[in-house]
């Protein structure tokens, strides 16, 4: 085998990146989604500096104020205030931290567990494969939200437990994907040649095969990110996720429910925030899928 000089590998990698960006940027929706997502990340990172007030500061003289452009609204509270006089905009800004953290933690946990199980099943086959995949089938047999609810009931309500439960529920999708990709790759010549060259099991699994399964994993991770945010908000809404007074968007919706006719804005904005976030991520996901899937590429 010939030595490959670093410059020779870097150039195709850069070219691949440029090609990826070329296809990705052709999708206008995906670019918009990416921009919105980037703004959300910035908002989440700098929330305490951007938000006009702390998330839990109450203004006793400003209960249930409508947004500033509506009659009775005040310019000090741009999106109005909630039933106990907290600024909606500030709570929403702080809430972005929770949603992005939920997505990040859930995807990291689900991805790591899914990769380990999927690689083991796809690489070793036999009974390892049978046992792992049967367990995945069992998890997938339950409606995801129901299983997450029951797991939270066992572990106790709370944001952290909700994240763990959602990660567990989403993880079989990764395991299945990785297993299929590993099985497809394992028989190919480059793997055989690496094995003949003396690569051990671990090296074959992680360094040789796994990097070639990355594309579908990226797409699945993006979709799971938005799914995790939706499910965590749903759990929060049902009172089993983040607990009040946490400014998590789903939890905010739950406590706003009784004011739905009197003060529609306390219901409207948290849900809108969830929708925009999830939509932006799904737009990016669609763009990634189109850009990474060679079947759809038009030459």
């Amino acid at each position: 085998m010939t030595e490959i000089t670093p410059t020779a590998t870097e150039r195709p990698r850069l070219a691949a990146l440029a090609e990826f960006w070329h296809y990705f940027s052709m999708n206008r929706g995906a670019v918009i989604g990416l921009v919105v997502f980037a703004i959300l990340v910035i908002v989440a990172l700098f929330a305490p500096w951007i938000a006009p007030y702390p998330a839990d500061q109450q203004f006793r003289d400003a209960l249930l104020l409508p947004p500033s452009w509506m009659e009775g609204g005040r310019s000090a509270y741009l999106l109005g205030t909630d039933p106990v006089g907290r600024d909606m905009l500030s709570r929403l800004i702080h809430g972005s931290r929770y949603s992005l953290a939920i997505g990040l933690v859930v995807v990291t946990v689900a991805l790591s567990v899914g990769i380990v199980l999927g690689v083991l099943a796809g690489y070793f086959r036999g009974w390892v494969d049978v046992v792992i995949m049967r367990v995945m089938d069992i998890i997938l047999a339950f409606p995801s939200l129901l299983l997450a609810l029951v797991l939270v009931a066992i572990m106790g309500p709370g944001l952290f437990n909700a994240m763990l439960a959602i990660a567990l529920v989403l993880q079989p999708h990764f395991a299945r994907l990785v297993r299929a990709a590993v099985m497809a790759e394992a028989g190919k010549d480059y793997v055989t040649s690496a094995r003949v060259a003396g690569a051990g099991h671990i090296r074959l699994m992680i360094k040789t095969i796994l990097p070639n399964c990355v594309a579908p994993l990226i797409v699945q991770a993006t979709l799971s990110f938005s799914n995790a945010i939706l499910e965590a908000a749903a759990l929060g809404f049902l009172g089993m996720g983040a607990q009040p007074p946490t400014p998590e968007w789903g939890t905010m919706l739950a406590s706003a429910r009784e004011f739905i006719t009197r003060a529609p804005w306390v219901v409207t904005f948290p849900g809108l925030a969830i929708l925009i976030t999830v939509l932006a991520i799904n737009l990016v996901g669609d763009g990634l899928r189109d850009a990474l899937d060679p079947k759809l590429k038009r030459s």
């Binding site: 739905i260 219901v267 999830v278």
Partner: protein, 335 residues
């Protein structure tokens, strides 16, 4: 065909056993003493404690507990609800039709709108209709449906006053259920006003529950159509001089429907998850609301059996879809 069905059945046996283990383990995984946990802050008298312990069989070895659990389940004994004191299966069967009715109409809506929308979007690829439909579909797919439901209530029930806010039928109508399906029952009684009331109650929940399946079906139909429209046999059909509508309806559509049918089948689990949220928002007396209430009331016998029953229903429906799929597509059977 019979061999195919038996093969499919054999495949799900381990999963079914796994599901029973999960629901069996649930009560035993609860932190602390399961009986005290179920009793909640009210506590439980020592006599009642012993009775419950006997009833659940917590004094037997664990494998014996599991076997007797499975034995009971196989005989249709899913335990007694702590809250209603009725057999869980009785409550489940009484509430299940409400969920089926809701889910069926949600699915009907999703299929009736999603498939034509997907076909038109594919045929007019790149047009404003295509872009609009796919934009709306992605928005629907990203929708937090619990919020969507609240918005619809604000607008249609609060602002316009067109639809009722909750329940299955106005309270001044009372029926002894015949089939459990409100729309059918009201018609069987011949009460037109009650039927109209039931329809008005059903519309918003069905729209909310159908939103995500609708989005998924529209997107799937479009991509399946696009794939088929690029195939050689479609080009051949066009080259033969067949009319565009004949090419699309006969040659393309039939083949494009195969993956769409699979997608529809896969939505059943989604519908059950969505039913939990939809039924909670609209106070729809189905099994989704029942499960949520049982979790918050710590009626863990119901949660345990509900989990098992719902999973079994989802699996059964998926199995039926698999078999139907093999009926319409002989290529699957041959494998």
């Amino acid at each position: 065909m019979l061999r195919y069905i038996l093969h499919k059945l054999a495949l799900i046996v381990p999963t079914v056993i796994g599901i029973t283990i999960c629901s069996f383990a649930f009560i035993r995984l609860l932190p602390g003493d399961p009986i005290l946990a179920m009793a909640g802050q009210h506590g439980v008298s020592p006599e009642r404690y012993e009775i419950l312990k006997e009833q659940f069989g917590f004094n037997m070895p664990i494998w014996q507990q599991y076997l007797s659990y499975v034995w009971n389940v196989l005989h249709g004994d899913f335990g007694i609800s702590l809250a209603t004191k009725r057999p869980v299966l009785t409550d489940f069967l009484a509430l299940f039709p409400a969920t089926i009715e809701l889910a069926l109409f949600a699915m009907l809506l999703a299929v009736a709108l999603g498939i034509p929308a997907g076909i038109f979007a594919a045929v007019k690829r790149g047009s404003w209709f295509d872009q609009l439909t796919m934009g709306v579909a992605l928005t629907g797919y990203s929708m937090p449906i619990f919020w969507w439901g609240l918005l619809l209530i604000i607008f249609f029930s609060g602002y316009l006053g067109w639809t009722p806010v909750s329940g299955r039928i106005a309270i001044n109508f009372f029926f002894k259920p015949i089939t459990g399906f409100m729309l059918v029952d009201t018609l069987l009684y011949g009460n037109w006003a009650a039927f109209v009331s039931a329809v008005r109650h059903l519309i918003l929940p069905a729209v909310v529950l159908g939103t995500i399946p609708l989005a998924v079906i529209a997107r799937q139909t479009r991509s399946a159509m696009l794939e088929v429209l690029g195939e050689d046999y479609v080009r051949t059909a066009r080259a033969k001089g067949l009319s565009p509508s004949r090419v699309i309806n006969i040659h393309a559509l039939r083949n494009a429907m195969i993956p769409v049918v699979t997608t529809i089948g896969l939505q059943v689990g989604m519908l059950m998850a969505g039913a939990i949220l939809t039924e909670t928002i609209f106070s729809w007396p189905g099994i989704g609301k029942w499960m949520i209430e049982s979790i918050s009331k710590r009626d863990y016998v119901v949660v345990q059996s509900g989990l098992l029953l719902i999973a079994l229903v989802v699996m059964a429906v998926n199995l039926i879809v698999d078999v139907l799929y093999a009926v319409i597509n002989p290529r699957i059977r041959a494998r």
